[in-house]
Amino acid sequence: MNFDYTEEQTLLDNMVTSFVRDNYDWDTRCNIVKSEEGWKEENWKQFAELGLLGVPFDEVYGGLGGKSTDLMIVMEQFGKGLVVEPYLPTVILAGGLISKLGSEEQKNSIIPEIISGNVRCAFAYAEPQSRFDLNDVKTTAVLNGDDYVLNGFKSVVFGAGMASHLIISARTDGDQRSESGISLFIVDTKSDGLTLQNYPTIDEYRASEVIIENLKVSKDNVLGEVNMAYEAIEEIVDISTIAACSEAVGILQVLKDSTTEYCKNRKQFGQSIAKNQVIQHRLVDMMIEYEQAKSILYMAVTADLSNSDERKKAVSAAKARIGKAIKFVGESAIQLHGGMGVVDEYMVSHYFKRATMIGVLFGNTDYHMKRYMTLTQSGISSSDEAISVSVT
């Protein structure tokens, strides 16, 4: 039993840490998010040069064959710098789906292009009515000759505006909430029939609403088996959830450390406010929440993710618990910064906003609590169905 990084992981950690330190100081970051594009292509090129874009991919396609620990390392450091480039949407989410479901031909043509930085992808899955339910898909795909014709609407697609390709989930069979009958399609973002409404998010990342009207997709661009995409979607979203949790843990560390520093330096009534026990205990509780968040992340990262029951349980436990830590550490950080906490100019509010939005990403605390409970107590409970119906 050990929690140490291997030599390669330490190198990776150092590499991402130096990238953030050298390329992502606060002013630079502010300029990036204020720019029209909302990200910096130069940084993406550097990710490619550093090999970061290949971390999770198989060596056969030019990747590094990294595992969940490697992704945790990258995302934790990105969290510390609030890095906005669409690494999670492209490499982990869309890249994960392509690795999982793609044909040899698809993998050979797309993965090397992602690794070299030429192709960025986003995954369009959420819909206005679906909330966090991955099975709730109204967007339709109907076969017409050799093409599928897609119609529907996708919500809050992270990184779509920066992507050359979208992966879209659509219903090819079954009713709106059925797990079977969901298929995935890879499309060029410039295709006719696709309209992107791009916008900045509250935490200064970028997302898009995607309107799909009579979008023609060739049969060759179906990803995986028709009607059978649900399980893979759930698995890759789970893996991405661990990545999001890792980012959150990086952010929480910054919030905890910077708040502790701030309280040491801030003087009121002639002394540092950190001399007050009420402040000290709040800071200690922030530290405890941070450590507990990090611990449950380690639990998820070291769980047997190839076993789907264990994976789901571990991921939902981590997301629910970290969601609780985000709220406590984030809100405490703002409170203890006083007036400085609530202004846009000072960095703490930006970390708080990003952490809070990660709390929502891939399902919030309540959502994952319910999933965890269903997974752990289904053996005893006969009224789970009644309970899950009340999920909206």
Binding site: M1, Q280, H281, V284, A293, I296, M369, M373, I380
Partner: protein
């Protein structure tokens, strides 16, 4: 990062499991269970029987002690496995006062005679120890203690009062912090660490009843007690250093993760039998959510403990982070005792589940769950209150 057990660890695990299965006396389990349920005091034999069995087996009664002093010298992973298995099998826990507290102080700071005199009895469980730290006026502010020890010839004459002396009613020996120099510049500098035979004339033990009616703790009085100077540990007036060593040294298991896990399992069983709104309580969304929240907290704490253990085995030492284990561990223990009491509804009421004519009332599993809840309010207060633990983290970890 790797949390999987190695083949050796797995072999060790089954060795422990087999040993418990073969050697833990069923009568002991039955006797303790029935006394616990009825809120009856455990006897000295109940508390030490398992200790004595382990003491005869490769030093297993002292998982952390070095082999040279007769301990098992388990690796951190082995310690973790050992605790897990003992908790799963509901083995009586080993009293910490000898094994975890005074033992390490003796083999670290004691002289050869003291080691030879005391370590074997601690290991075997034949000698029962208790702790003389707190006083009526010295709780969190331990260094303000007043019990005095004045040297007269070959003896210290000890006068004063200790309190919260857990299980002093059974103890053969007590380790005490006493004031040997009232003139010292700082209160911490005038304290010494003395071992006192409880049979010495002038030592008096009076019980203190806790709010659940149990007798765990006592007042211990010292009236001109003559203690041979050979019973001084280390140097005179250096006791505070040894006291702090003792507090920080053995924190493994302080979080009680394995026992809380077992307790949650039990609550789930109870909540499957209890009904609410015409359905098993386990299906009540509010109750279910509370159980799940406790499970998540415990799962996080388990990994916090594993991280601490891993750091410990890398020789980096546990340090003040163990205060975190104490705070969170006791939080969860209290949450769990509360959930158990809550699960039985009205049957939290009957005191010890028995009528005035000694007949049982209510479901068997409900007996004394409320007593345990009330009893466990002690957990966030003892061993340095959770507020004091926060002060320690603030100072030692956050540098405030």
């Amino acid at each position: 990062m790797d949390t999987a057990f190695s083949n050796e660890d797995l072999k060790f695990q089954s060795e422990i499991r087999d040993f418990i299965k073969t050697n833990y006396p069923q009568e002991l389990r039955d006797s303790i269970n029935s006394k616990r349920k009825l809120g009856k005091e455990l006897s000295r034999e109940d508390l030490t029987a398992w200790h004595k069995i382990l003491g005869k087996h490769n030093g297993w009664s002292a998982p952390s002690w070095p082999k040279q002093y007769g301990g098992a010298e388990f690796t951190p992973t082995q310690k973790y496995i050992f605790e897990q298995e003992c908790a799963k099998a509901e083995c009586q826990y080993i009293m910490p006062f000898g094994i975890n507290m005074v033992g390490p102080v003796i083999y670290t700071f004691g002289n050869e005679e003291q080691k030879a005199q005391h370590l074997p009895g601690i290991l075997s469980g034949e000698v029962f120890w208790c702790q003389g730290y707190s006083e009526p006026g010295s709780g969190s502010d331990l260094a303000s203690l007043k019990t005095s020890a004045v040297k007269e010839g070959d003896y210290y004459i000890v006068n004063g009062q200790k309190t919260w002396t857990t299980m002093a009613q059974y103890a053969d020996w007590i380790f005490c912090l006493v004031r040997t120099n009232p003139e010292a510049e700082k209160p911490q500098q005038g304290i010494s660490f003395l071992l006192i035979d409880m049979k010495t004339p002038g030592v008096t033990v009076r019980p203190i009843k806790l709010m659940d009616g149990t007798h765990e703790v006592n007042e211990t009085w010292f009236d001109n007690v003559k203690v041979p100077i050979e019973n001084l540990i280390g140097q005179e007036n250096m006791g505070w250093t040894y006291a702090k060593f003792l507090l920080a040294h053995e924190r493994s298991g302080i979080a009680g993760v394995a026992r809380s896990k077992k307790a949650i399992e039990r609550i789930k069983q109870i909540a499957s039998s209890e009904m609410s709104y015409g359905e098993p309580l386990i299906q009540d969304p509010a109750f279910k959510a509370k159980i799940a929240a406790a499970e998540l907290e415990l799962s996080a704490l388990e990994y916090t403990e594993l991280r601490t253990l891993a750091k410990d085995s890398a020789g980096k030492g546990p340090g003040p982070e163990s205060s975190l284990l104490k705070i969170k561990g006791t939080d969860i223990q209290q949450a769990v005792t509360e959930l158990a009491m809550e699960a039985v509804g009205y049957y939290a009421n009957p005191h010890l589940g028995t009528t005035l004519s000694n007949e049982y009332v209510g479901p068997d599993y409900a007996t004394n769950l409320s007593g345990t809840y009330f009893n466990f309010r002690k957990a966030s207060i003892y061993g340095g209150s959770n507020e004091i633990q926060r002060n320690i983290i603030a100072k030692m970890v956050l540098g405030l």
